[in-house]
């Protein structure tokens, strides 16, 4: 058991993958000497060489497109997109090519490509550096979308993404990069697509993932002070979503609030609300509520604290749900 930050856990995870499989490649902008703008690939090029940790031209479509070609040749590329807002030049290659190729080849080729994207806000960045595009990927058949909320999941889920024979969008909550946690590098992990109950409770379920898990855990602690018992489910995976775990929680609590940074409209919360309503109709004591971003561009940094769902907005939704 080692204490490490999420960033370090990701770095160790990549190192282990590079060590254990010669077909694993790391590629992206500034991932070499610099170690990436968030230093996730720090030291990897020095130890594994320019042939395996590849600084690419600044062309995201080119990065993903060539990663597809490398995968067809038998490699397992782990692509870094520098920031969430920079993924869209590659969106065509991801959606039109990467996601569909296994199906259109009737399973005769595999596309084990991982696309790592530091996502979401909270770091006081300029435009295009704080976005939450998860629904835009989860909506695409052929892709898997996962996102860790803690160091242990960061370490293990990245390993599992690299071992997966399908394309995986791996979303890294960038404002949590420096949060520390225990990582057991010898324990056998469960499925990356399984949700976990991060906090047991009886009155209401908070469903979250990535950067919002911490906010929800804080909300549960604050609510406990007022005598309310909130359960927090860390979804971990957005495609597929482990609805069984969530259903079990909601059947117990009777209430669900889904929390994410992404705009609420057409967001993952909408899908979760619909499915849980269908599965738990007779258990629900209140409509499923959602807390998230607004239907507006991500605001300038001076406004992001107001924009991002925080403790108070989550607790406000909890109050409303409990008032039904």
């Amino acid at each position: 058991m080692t204490q490490m930050a999420i960033a370090k856990a990701l770095n160790e995870s990549l190192r282990k993958a590079l060590e254990s499989d010669p077909k694993v490649l790391v590629m992206g902008e500034d991932v070499g000497k610099l170690g990436g703008v968030f230093r996730i690939t720090d030291g990897l090029q020095k130890d594994f060489g320019e042939g395996r940790v590849i600084d690419t031209p600044l062309a995201e479509s080119g990065i993903v497109g060539t990663a597809i070609g490398l995968a067809l040749r038998g490699y397992r590329p782990v692509v870094e997109i520098q920031f969430d807002g920079f993924v869209f030049p590659a969106y065509d290659q991801i959606v039109t090519q990467l996601a569909k190729m296994h199906a259109r080849a009737l399973g005769k080729v595999k596309l084990p490509v991982v696309i790592r994207i530091p996502y979401a806000g909270g770091i006081g960045a300029v435009e295009h550096h704080s976005e939450s595009p998860e629904a835009l990927f989860a909506h695409v058949p052929g892709l898997k979308v996962i996102t860790p909320s803690n160091a242990s999941d960061a370490y293990w889920m990245l390993q599992q993404a690299i071992e997966c024979d399908d394309p995986v969008i791996f979303l890294e909550p960038k404002r949590r990069y420096w949060d520390k946690g225990e990582v057991d590098t010898s324990a056998l992990p469960g499925s990356p697509h399984q949700a976990v109950v991060a906090q047991q409770g009886t009155d209401l379920t908070l469903a979250a993932y990535g950067p919002m898990v911490k906010v929800c855990l804080e909300a549960a602690a604050a609510a406990a002070n007022e005598g309310r018992s909130l359960e927090v489910v860390d979804l971990r995976s957005l495609s597929p979503i482990d609805f069984d775990t969530l259903q079990a929680s909601v059947e117990k609590t009777g209430r669900l609030v889904v929390v994410h940074e992404a705009p609420v409209f057409y967001g993952s919360g909408a899908e979760i609300a619909a499915r849980i309503t269908e599965r738990c109709f007779y258990h629900l004591e209140a409509p499923v509520l959602r807390v998230g971003g607004f239907h507006a561009p991500y605001p300038p940094a001076r406004l992001e604290e107001e924009y991002l769902p925080g403790l108070d907005r989550v607790l406000d939704a909890v109050d409303r749900a409990l008032a039904f």
Partner: protein
């Protein structure tokens, strides 16, 4: 020939002699020079950089390839008109560009086609019926790309040039001496992905040949709507050689593509070949070229027909007799019949195939939806059974 000397970078004005010719910067009037080894009249001519020496069997083989490919293409158009195919993208007029370049590849080379490379597929021994599946609507491709090192057809313009480049980067990492060839068209040359493929291939010195069939038309848009410079000249800006070849001259295409593939194999990196050709037919069977181009233009290109040209040469050289042509005709008829019968008996996939191969490692939602849909479909069977048993209201 030496493509090494053409490693570009500087402006054409500074180039001289051999480099200038290979890079094609020397102009005749407004049209740049193109590599030609067989004139439209079937006269064999020499070129300073590119040469070829084929046996009579090889020459007859190229003729056979082109005739059979054209016949297959014609059959596919007919099948579309008869409602057996939903769509067909004809290669009529581009037989030399495709057969010449395809025959330049080795079995271990890898081909990334667009959706019109029926002639290249032929040279890679891909069963023509495989190509028809997607046009009949029974699959989206479906053949095993690794069986003949011939990737699936790619419909979104230019995307495959990046896949080819990545694949070539992998070939280089493996230390293999294979080469990769990426097909694309004049329209695709405007795509960002093609520019990015050029950049990546140049930066990593990837063993890839970019083979552009400039057939003059991107549906209704002429090449002038894509570029102010001849397409092959774009390579210079990326730092690798580009050459324009007479795309209706199968000998020149074969010679130039062989050289380009050898250039790639020998560690000299990418090369761009622009095969100057003409799309004699419509873009696809849904297109009507009379709305945007003049008959005279097509008639002019008919005089440069790739098959007639090689036939003229074979005849002049006494390399083929009536028996040879009769045998090819017979083979064409047999191919056409096989294609017709094969398409007409091609089975539609099972409904549940919708859920197959979405993922390699499975996905809970797909499993759930598959089960629900199967149950839904089964409910109709129950109804049918109930009706048959005479229980009504």
């Amino acid at each position: 020939m030496s493509v090494k000397s053409t490693a570009a970078g500087g402006p054409p004005a500074k180039s001289r002699g051999r480099t200038t010719r290979a890079a094609g910067a020397k102009r005749r009037g407004t049209e740049p020079e193109l590599v030609q080894l067989l004139t439209p009249e079937g006269e064999r001519v020499e070129h300073g950089e590119y040469s070829i020496d084929l046996t009579p069997d090889e020459l007859r083989g190229l003729y056979r390839d082109m005739v059979l490919t054209r016949r297959f293409d014609a059959e596919a158009i007919t099948l579309q008109r008869q409602g057996e195919l939903g769509l067909w993208a004809s290669l009529l007029g581009q037989e030399a560009a495709q057969i010449g370049s395809g025959r330049a590849t080795r079995p271990d080379d890898y081909v990334f086609p667009t959706y019109r490379e029926h002639g290249v597929a032929w040279t890679r021994d891909v069963d023509p019926l495989n190509l028809l599946g997607m046009f009949r609507g029974v699959n989206h491709g479906g053949w095993d790309p690794n069986e003949n090192n011939f990737h699936l057809y790619t419909i979104v313009i230019g995307s495959q040039t990046l896949h080819a480049t990545g694949y070539a980067m992998g070939v280089a990492k493996d230390g293999a001496d294979s080469a990769v060839i990426a097909y694309f068209g004049d329209g695709a040359s405007s795509q960002g992905d093609v520019a990015e493929a050029f950049t990546f291939a140049a930066v990593y010195n990837a063993p890839v040949v970019f083979f552009c069939q400039n057939n003059q038309w991107a549906i209704s848009e002429p090449t002038e709507k894509q570029s102010r410079v001849p397409i092959y000249q774009r390579a210079a800006g990326f730092g690798f050689p580009g050459v324009r070849v007479d795309g209706n001259d199968v000998l020149a295409v074969l010679a130039v593509t062989r050289a380009a593939l050898e250039h790639a194999r020998s560690g000299q990196g990418p090369m761009l070949v622009e095969a100057f050709t003409y799309r004699m037919g419509a873009h696809t069977t849904t297109d009507d070229p009379t709305r945007y181009r003049a008959d005279e233009e097509r008639e002019q290109w008919e005089g440069k027909d790739p098959i007639a040209r090689l036939k003229a040469y074979l005849d002049k050289q006494g390399l083929a007799d009536e028996a040879f042509y009769a045998a090819i005709d017979q083979e064409s008829d047999a191919l056409a019949k096989r294609v017709r019968d094969g398409v007409r008996t091609m089975e539609s996939p099972d409904t549940m195939a919708i859920f197959e191969n979405v993922y390699a490692d499975g996905h809970a939602l797909v499993d759930e939806e598959r089960a629900q849909f199967a149950e839904y479909l089964a409910s109709f069977e129950d109804t049918a059974t109930a009706g048959a048993s005479g229980e009504g209201h």
